[in-house]
Amino acid sequence: MSLIIETKDVNLYYGDFHALKGISMEMQPNTVTAFIGPSGCGKSTYLRLFNRMNDLIDAVKITGTINIDGKNVYEKGVDIVELRRKVGMVFQKPNPFPKTIFENIAYGLRVNGVGDKHFIEDRVERSLKQAALWEEVKDKLKKSAFELSGGQQQRLCIARALAIEPTILLMDEPASALDPISTSKIEELIHELKKNYTILIVTHNMQQAARVSDATAFFYLGNLVEFGTTKDIFTHPNDIKTQNYITGRFG
């Protein structure tokens, strides 16, 4: 089951730099929410709040609440490994492990203590099918993941994220390094995956945000300028800054 995600008055500082300024937003289950905005606006920083990836950066200070299904993920005692199992992430550049295709998917299961061979095999197949990659790799599961094309590697990374059955998928520009055909496959995949997952995606590609998302949030200088349905944002945004950005007049 997917969960409601909400943030309330979130501020994030990198040392003295105020990177996120009072962000409040609520994202519904089984939807795709796109975060757009110019480089440095805070959208990737915001995305990384949900699996506490920002914790890895020195001198980060976070205030406000980030709730997933009503629980603040920054509360003391939260199991970060468990959180990251629930909140999967796909990065801009495909980053398969230097292992076989099969092991790339099985790895997360093994780390989580799963030892049953048949269970792992089933889950590998199911994850690859979910990521629309099974037909292309079913006969070469023992081959190195590096033998796959960039687009296939990215779908492998998505399959790897899905194998541990998260409820939320974070995607940080997942198609920006891919050709149009691979991009199209990833977008189709996002469309399919939202039936079972809640997806948050950072993208610089306006058309991609328009095509894949249900809701869009526009960030600028650490502020959430506008958040609404993608249809409204791309047909009649309320804020002139949003309009200038999506129409390419931002200067």
Binding site: F234, T235, H236, P237, Q243, I246, T247, G248, R249
Partner: protein, 224 residues
């Protein structure tokens, strides 16, 4: 100015050029009707080809804008509005041509009394002024001016509504002028449709500038 803006400005200018041509076409039919100038009517008929060519060019440019420029938000609404305004202008051009055709086929000059009692010149004045003002509203994105069209169209509708009874009386008095009377009735009906086209254009301008859809709403409530 970004490339997209340059392209959309070209589209805007093309639309305004077509607009001016259509207004001229309508003005010429009025002149041809009053002065029974068949040459001028023929000129209108010939110029209709230019109107059609402009329509095709604008259609094509809109298609290119969608395919190549990926317009969104106000730009998307602008191109959508242009597509529809283009269609409205082309139909207005057809109306001018229709009037020019019956002028060129008429045997005798139109009787002054007939033109006066039917208020056809008044109708011309209103419809042409509406087209001119809505052009200004489009050029300057003046939705307040665009909204005045809804009220002004009612004046044209009123003349149209009264035309039937006036012409019934006229034909009963002057049965020999039945053909002329029917031609004037046809012109009145066509000019009434010019008012409708201008009103449709006003709706498109409001949609483009304010992102409000006024179609099938009570415009009187939305004025001002």
């Amino acid at each position: 100015m970004i490339h997209l803006e340059e392209e959309l400005n070209v589209l805007k200018q093309e639309t305004m050029n077509m607009w001016q041509l259509v207004i001229q076409q309508l003005q010429k039919t009025e002149e041809a009707l009053i002065n029974f100038d068949k040459d001028l009517a023929s000129e209108v008929i010939a110029n209709e080809r230019r109107v059609n060519a402009m329509e095709l060019k604008i259609d094509n440019d809109c298609e290119n804008a969608f395919a190549l420029l990926n317009p969104v938000a106000v730009d998307l609404r602008f191109v959508l509005a242009i597509l529809k305004i283009n269609n409205n202008l082309e139909r207005t051009g057809d109306i001018a041509e229709g009037i020019a055709k019956f002028i060129s086929q008429a045997k005798n000059p139109f009787e002054t009394q007939l033109l006066e009692i039917t208020r056809v010149r008044e109708m011309y004045m209103h419809s042409i002024e509406m087209l001119k003002d809505i052009l200004i509203a489009f050029d300057t994105e003046n939705t307040k001016l665009a909204r005045t069209l809804f009220r002004r169209d009612e004046m044209i509708d009123e003349i149209n509504r009264n035309a039937n009874s006036i012409l019934v009386d006229y034909i009963s008095k002057y049965p020999e002028s039945t053909e002329q009377a029917l031609n004037i009735l046809s012109a009145i009906r066509k000019l009434e449709r010019v008012g409708d086209q201008a009103k449709n254009i006003a709706e498109e301008i409001i949609f483009y500038v304010e992102a409000k859809v006024l179609k099938h709403t009570k415009k009187g409530l939305l004025e001002g």
